[in-house]
C-alpha cells in the first residue's frame, strides 16, 4: 500500500498537535504543523523534501482530531494531485512513541523512516536510509551540526534564548569512525555528568563525546524491531527520550529483543536449518570490515563459540553546509523564518528578487515605503507610506498603515496594523489588530488579539483569555 515500493521504506511524518511550547502561536485553528514559515506551513517543508526524493506515499500522524482535520484539509488541498498522503489522528499526549504504536498496523515495509513534521532541512532523507541499509542497523538517526551562530547574532535573542539553549543540544557519543551511536542524551536532561556504559566503552575502546550535534528527529527504524520495542515497553512515550536511548543502551546485549530479530536479517537464523548456509555468511563476515559490534559478538578470543547478539545504532551526520532546524520553540520559529528568507532561502521555494526579497505582485506599497533584503511580503498585503520592513516576513492580506517599522518579525495573515506602530523581534499571529502607535519588542501576540492604541510591550506574550 503506502510504501515507497522501490526501496521497501515507509515514511511516517509525525506532525504533532498543539504544542504547548509554542503557545500562543498555535491555536485551535493553527496546529503546530501549519505554522507558517515564510508563508508556507512548516509541514510543507518536510513533505516537499520527501516529494523531491520521490517519496510520494506518506503517513502523517497528527495529535488530536481537530488538528488532524485541519492538517488533512490543508494536505488534500495542496498535494491532492501529486502525493498519496494518509492523515492519521491519534489521541493527544500519547507522545511520539505512542503515535507510532497507534498506527502500528499500518506499518508493513521492512524499514520505517520517521520524520518530525517540524523539521526544516535540506538533508536528503535517502542519505539516512542508505546508511541504515548499509549497516543493516536497527535505528539510524540524522544528526546535524547545531546552529552555532543562529540566535546569538540576531537582535531578538533575549534572556529566553539563553534559557532554551542547553535544551537544544544533545550529548552524543560516537565511535571513532563516526558511524555508530554509543550514547545519546538530551542536553537539558544532563545535569552534571553523563553515564556511559562500560561494556560499550570496552568494546569500542575509543569514544567521542560531542555536544555540537543536534538530533534532527529523522530516524530510520527497522520495522520489526521498532514494533517489538513499542509492544514490549508499554511505558515508552517518546522516540527521542525512550526508544532511541533504549536501543542505544542495549546494542551489545540485544537478547532483550525477542526472537533474534536482528540475526534474522543476517541470515543467522537460517543457519540452524541449513548447515551449508553458515559458510557463506561466515565467509561474508570474514571478508567485511567488522564493526565493534561484530568483534564483540565474536567474543574476546575471536572464536564464535558464544555468539552474543548485538544490533547497530547508526548515525548519519549531515554536512555542515546543510541547513537543518526544528521548529520546537518560539525562538526557533522566528529563527527559521529569518533563515528561510535569509541564508537558507533555497528552501523557501520562492525566487528572490535582485534586492534579495520576495514581494508578491499583488502587494501594494505606499510611497517612500522600503522593504529591505531578506524580507517577504505576501499577496494582497497593503502598506501605507513611509513604512520600513527589515528582515521580516509579512503574510497575506495584511493592512499596514503609515509610518510603521517592522524589524526581524513575523507577521502572519489578515493583520491590521495602525499608523505609527513599531514592531521588533516579535511574532504576530493571524487576525490580530494593532491599533495606532503600538510598540512591541520581542513579543508574541496570539491570534485574534487586539492591541489597544498607544500601548507598549516588551518581551511579553499576549493572547486572548
Amino acid at each position: 500500500m503506502e510504501i515507497a515500493r522501490g526501496m521497501d521504506f515507509q515514511v511516517v511524518v509525525l506532525a504533532g498537535g498543539f504544542s504547548k511550547s509554542l503557545v500562543p502561536l498555535v491555536s485551535k485553528k493553527v496546529p503546530k504543523a501549519l505554522l507558517p514559515v515564510a508563508n508556507r506551513p512548516v509541514l510543507s517543508y518536510v513533505i516537499d523534501l520527501l516529494e523531491q526524493k520521490n517519496l510520494k506515499d506518506l503517513i502523517v500522524v497528527v495529535e488530536g482530531e481537530t488538528a488532524a482535520h485541519s492538517v488533512s484539509a490543508w494536505i488534500s488541498g495542496t498535494y491532492i494531485d501529486r502525493l498519496h498522503v494518509e492523515v492519521a489522528a491519534v489521541p493527544e499526549d500519547v507522545g511520539t512513541a505512542g503515535a507510532l504504536r497507534a498506527i502500528d498496523h499500518r506499518l508493513t515495509a521492512k524499514d520505517i523512516l520517521v520524520v518530525s513534521g517540524d523539521l526544516v532541512c535540506d538533508v536528503p532523507p535517502g542519505a539516512v536510509a542508505a546508511t541504515h541499509r548499509r549497516h543493516d542497523a536497527v535505528v539510524t538517526a540524522l544528526l546535524c551540526t547545531a546552529p552555532a551562530s543562529g540566535p546569538s547574532d540576531s537582535g531578538s535573542s533575549g534572556a529566553k534564548d539563553k534559557a532554551k539553549k542547553p535544551g537544544r543540544y544533545n550529548i552524543i557519543a560516537l565511535d571513532p569512525t563516526k558511524q555508530f551511536l554509543l550514547h545519546i542524551a538530551a542536553g537539558a536532561e544532563v545535569e552534571k555528568d553523563i553515564r556511559v556504559q562500560k561494556s560499550i566503552l570496552r568494546a569500542v575502546s575509543q569514544m567521542e563525546i560531542r555536544a555540537d550535534l543536534m538530533d534532527a528527529h529523522m530516524y530510520a527504524f527497522k520495522r520489526s524491531v521498532l514494533q517489538d520495542v513499542l509492544n514490549q515497553k508499554e511505558t515508552f512515550q517518546s522516540l527521542r527520550r525512550d526508544v532511541l536511548p533504549y536501543l542505544v543502551r542495549s546494542q551489545l546485549r540485544s537478547e532483550l529483543l525477542s526472537n533474534g530479530v536482528q540475526s534474522d536479517e543476517n541470515g543467522n537464523s537460517k543457519d540452524a536449518m541449513q548447515n551449508a548456509k553458515i559458510l557463506p555468511s561466515q565467509l561474508l563476515a570474514n571478508a567485511s570490515t567488522p564493526s565493534f559490534h561484530e568483534l564483540y559478538a565474536l567474543g574476546p578470543d575471536g572464536s564464535s563459540s558464544i555468539t552474543r547478539k548485538t544490533h547497530k545504532c547508526c548515525v548519519y551526520i549531515a554536512n555542515k553546509s546543510k541547513y537543518c532546524a526544528r521548529l520546537n520553540s518560539i525562538q526557533a520559529f522566528s529563527d527559521i523564518n529569518r533563515d528561510v528568507v535569509g541564508d537558507a532561502n533555497h528552501l523557501s521555494g520562492y525566487s528572490f528578487s535582485a534586492q534579495n526579497n520576495v514581494i508578491h505582485p499583488t502587494a501594494v506599497l505606499g510611497s517612500k515605503t522600503t522593504v529591505g533584503p531578506q524580507c517577504m511580503l505576501g499577496d494582497g498585503s497593503q502598506m501605507g507610506d513611509k513604512c520600513s520592513v527589515k528582515k521580516s516576513v509579512i503574510g497575506r492580506h495584511c493592512r499596514i498603515g503609515s509610518n510603521v517599522k517592522v524589524v526581524s518579525s513575523v507577521i502572519m495573515d489578515h493583520i491590521t496594523i495602525g499608523d505609527g506602530c513599531s514592531i521588533q523581534g516579535s511574532v504576530i499571529c493571524s487576525n490580530v489588530q494593532l491599533q495606532e502607535r503600538v510598540i512591541l519588542k520581542d513579543c508574541q501576540v496570539g491570534a485574534g488579539f487586539v492591541v489597544t492604541a498607544g500601548s507598549e510591550y516588551k518581551a511579553e506574550s499576549l493572547a486572548k483569555k
Binding site: 535517502g126 536510509a129 557463506p280 575471536g302
Partner: protein, 617 residues
C-alpha cells in the same frame, strides 16, 4: 619512447593505405585541395602519391642512419601485426607530424625526393635512403636521378611542372611577395610566408600540410573503422577511461554521478578513478530515486562502494544473494517473457554494481552463469517454477563453486603441508584460511607467517581469527619479506583470478611475494577456485586493474599526526597510485590448487577449456 613509436607508426598499414588511396577518392581530400587542383591539374598526379611519405619523415628529424633499414624491414611486416588499440590517439600523431614540420623545414625539402623515391615502388631500402638527406643542394641531383631510373614519362611531366612551379615561386619571391597569390591557395600562402627563407619549399609545405591533415582525418576514419571491426570481433572487455567519448557516453548512462579525480597517474589513465566520497554522497541522496535498482542490490552496491565487503568470494556471494532477493521479488511484466526481460533487469543491476566498484573476473563468471541459466529456462515453465529453479541454481553455484570448492581445495592443499612447515600468506584469503584451519584440525604442526601490506591491512583480521583457533603466527609487513622468506617452507597465495597463460591476478603485493619466494626456492602454491579462471591472457597488471582510493595511501589510519599528504590533490606534480591488483607471471608459481586438482600453471588452459563448460551446468 622513440624506439616504441617508430615501428608503430611505420608499420601502421592504415597510414600507408591512406596514402595510396586518399587521392583516388576525391571526397576524402581536405579543404584546401580543390583550389590546388584547379590551378595545377597535372601535379595532382604527383601529389597523389605524396601521402605515402607521411610516416617516414617523422623519424627523419630524430635519427637518420638506422632508420632506413627499419623502414624497409617494417614495410614487409604483415598487416596483422598492426594493433589498432596501440594506435590510440590519432590527434597526437598528427600533432607530432605538424610540429615536426613547422619546426624544421629541412625535411620538408625531402618531400619531393622522398616521394620520388617512393614512386619506385617503395620496395627497396636504397630507394628510401635519399629521403634522409636534410640538405637542400644535393636534392636537385637526387631529384633528377630517380625519375631517370624508373617510369620516366610520368615523372617527367611532374618534374617539369614542378620546376616551372619553382620558377614561378622564385619570381614571386623576387617580387617580394608572399607568392601565394599565384597559387591561389590560401593555405600555401601562409605556409610559404612562414618558410620564406627556403625557396624550394614553395609547393611542398601546403601539400605536406594537406596530406598530413588528410592522413590524419583518414587515420581517424580508419581508426574508427577498426574500432567497429574490433567490436564485432571481440567485445571490449572494459571501458577505456582515457577515451573521452566513451567516458562521456558512460556518464550519460550512469545512475550514479561520479566525479573523476584529478591527479591520476598517466599510465593508469584508462582505468576509472573517482573522487572518493562523491559517489557515496550521490548514491545516498538518490536512495529513493533509484527505482530500477532492487533494494538488496542497492545495499550490496553501497557496501562494495564503502569497502564494507571486499574479497572475491565474499563479493561474489553477496552479489549472488542480492540477485536471489531481486529474483524473488521479480514479476514478469505484461506481454514480456521472463527469459528475455529478466536478463535486462540483471544487466541493469550489474551496471549499477560496476558503478559502485568494478566487478572481479569471478563475478563476471558468476553473472554469465546466471544469464546462461536464465536463457536455458524452457518457455513452458511457469514463472514461479522458473524463479524457484533460478534460486536453487544460484544456491547451487554458491555451494558447489565456492563453498565446496574451497573445501576440496583445502583437502588437496593439506597434503602439501608437513609437520614443521612454516607457511607464508600475504593478505587475507578465505581459501588459504580454510587450508590452515583444515591442517590444524588434522593435527599438523606448522607455523603461519602472515605478511600484510598497507593500506588495507587485511592480514590483521586473518591474524585475529587464526590466533583464535590456536595457530601460532608471525605477523610482518611486506617490507620484511626478504628477511622472513628464509624461514618459510611454503607460500600460499589466494587469487582473484587465474588467466589462461598461467598469470595469477590477485591482491597487489602477491606478485612480489611470489617473486621473492621464487628467488629463495620456496614453492609458491596458489589456491583458486575454478570459477575464477578466465580464458583471457594478460601479461601485465596495467591493462586491467583497479585503482583504489588514493587517500588510503596518503593517510595512515590511527596516526592522525601523519598528515603530510593531506592536501595532495592540490599539488600539481604529485600523483598517488593505489593499485588493487597485480599480475604474477606463471614463472614464479610452482602450482595452482583448484578443486579439480593440483596443476602446474601451464595447465590452466586445460581447466578453462575442459571444465569451463562445467561452470555453466
Amino acid at each position: 619512447m622513440d624506439p616504441r613509436r617508430l615501428p608503430r607508426t611505420v608499420t601502421d598499414p592504415k597510414v600507408r593505405h591512406v596514402g595510396f588511396f586518399a587521392p583516388v577518392g576525391p571526397p576524402d581530400e581536405s579543404m584546401s585541395s580543390p583550389p590546388r587542383q584547379t590551378t595545377l591539374s597535372p601535379p595532382v598526379a604527383g601529389y597523389s602519391l605524396s601521402p605515402v611519405m607521411i610516416p617516414p619523415p617523422r623519424h627523419l628529424s630524430s635519427d637518420n642512419a638506422p632508420l632506413s633499414p627499419l623502414i624497409a624491414a617494417d614495410s614487409f611486416l604483415p598487416v596483422g601485426s598492426y594493433n589498432p588499440s596501440e594506435f590510440s590517439s590519432p590527434s597526437a600523431t598528427e600533432d607530432f607530424s605538424e610540429d615536426n614540420f613547422s619546426k624544421d623545414t629541412g625535411w620538408v625539402l625531402n618531400e619531393n625526393s622522398g616521394k620520388a623515391a617512393l614512386k619506385q615502388n617503395t620496395h627497396a631500402a636504397s630507394g628510401l635512403t635519399p629521403v634522409i638527406t636534410n640538405e637542400g643542394p644535393p636534392m636537385e641531383a637526387q631529384k633528377e636521378q630517380p625519375p631517370a631510373s624508373s617510369k620516366p614519362k610520368k615523372e617527367k611531366t611532374t618534374k617539369s611542372e614542378r620546376r616551372a612551379l619553382q620558377e614561378a615561386q622564385r619570381t614571386a619571391k623576387a617580387a617580394a611577395n608572399a607568392g601565394g597569390s599565384k597559387k591561389s591557395a590560401a593555405a600555401s600562402a601562409v605556409v610559404n610566408s612562414a618558410n620564406a627563407n627556403t625557396k624550394k619549399v614553395a609547393k611542398a609545405p601546403p601539400r605536406k600540410k594537406d596530406s598530413s591533415s588528410v592522413a590524419a582525418s583518414e587515420k581517424k576514419g580508419g581508426d574508427r573503422q577498426t574500432d567497429k571491426d574490433r567490436k564485432k570481433d571481440i567485445p571490449h572487455p572494459r571501458m577505456q577511461f582515457d577515451d573521452e567519448d566513451q567516458v562521456e557516453k558512460a556518464k550519460k548512462r550512469s545512475v550514479v554521478k561520479q566525479t573523476e579525480s584529478k591527479n591520476r597517474v598517466e599510465l593508469f589513465r584508462h582505468l576509472p578513478q573517482y573522487e572518493h566520497g562523491t559517489q557515496l554522497l550521490d548514491l545516498e541522496s538518490k536512495f529513493f530515486q533509484l527505482d530500477t535498482v532492487h533494494p538488496a542490490i542497492y545495499a550490496v552496491g553501497l557496501r562494495f562502494l564503502t569497502g564494507d565487503i571486499s574479497g572475491g568470494n565474499a563479493r561474489c556471494i553477496a552479489m549472488l544473494q542480492a540477485f536471489q532477493e531481486s529474483i524473488k521479488d521479480y514479476f514478469t511484466p505484461m506481454e514480456k517473457e521472463l527469459t528475455r526481460d529478466l536478463p535486462t533487469k540483471i544487466n541493469g543491476y550489474v551496471s549499477f554494481l560496476i558503478q559502485c566498484r568494478p566487478l572481479s573476473i569471478s563475478m563476471g563468471n558468476a553473472i554469465s552463469f546466471l544469464k546462461h541459466k536464465i536463457s536455458e529456462l524452457p518457455s513452458t515453465m511457469s514463472e514461479s517454477e522458473a524463479k524457484a529453479s533460478l534460486l536453487s541454481d544460484i544456491d547451487r553455484f554458491i555451494n558447489e563453486k565456492i563453498i565446496l570448492a574451497e573445501k576440496v581445495i583445502a583437502r588437496h592443499a593439506v597434503t602439501k603441508i608437513r609437520d614443521g612447515d612454516v607457511l607464508l600468506i600475504h593478505g587475507s584469503s578465505s581459501v588459504v584460511e580454510m587450508i590452515f584451519l583444515c591442517a590444524q584440525e588434522l593435527g599438523k604442526q606448522f607455523r603461519v607467517v602472515i605478511v600484510d601490506s598497507r593500506p588495507k591491512l587485511e592480514g590483521r583480521m586473518l591474524l585475529r581469527r587464526l590466533l583464535g583457533k590456536g595457530i601460532s603466527c608471525t605477523y610482518t609487513h611486506l617490507n620484511a619479506i626478504s628477511y622472513i622468506m628464509h624461514e618459510v617452507t611454503r607460500v600460499f597465495l589466494g587469487a582473484s583470478s587465474v588467466l589462461s597463460n598461467g598469470t595469477v591476478y590477485s591482491r597487489v603485493g602477491n606478485a612480489s611475494v611470489a617473486m621473492v619466494a621464487h628467488q629463495f626456492h620456496v614453492p609458491v602454491l596458489v589456491c583458486c577456485e575454478a570459477y575464477k579462471f578466465h580464458k583471457r591472457v594478460q601479461l601485465d597488471s596495467i591493462c586491467f586493474n583497479e585503482l583504489g582510493d588514493p587517500d588510503d595511501i596518503a593517510r595512515v589510519s590511527g596516526k592522525e599526526d601523519i598528515k603530510y599528504l593531506n592536501d595532495w590533490a592540490s599539488i600539481q606534480n604529485l600523483q598517488l597510485l593505489n593499485l588493487i591488483y597485480d599480475a604474477t607471471p606463471s614463472d614464479y608459481i610452482s602450482m595452482i590448487i583448484t578443486e579439480y586438482g593440483m596443476i602446474p600453471p601451464t595447465s590452466v588452459p586445460v581447466i578453462v577449456q575442459e571444465y569451463g563448460e562445467h561452470l555453466l551446468i
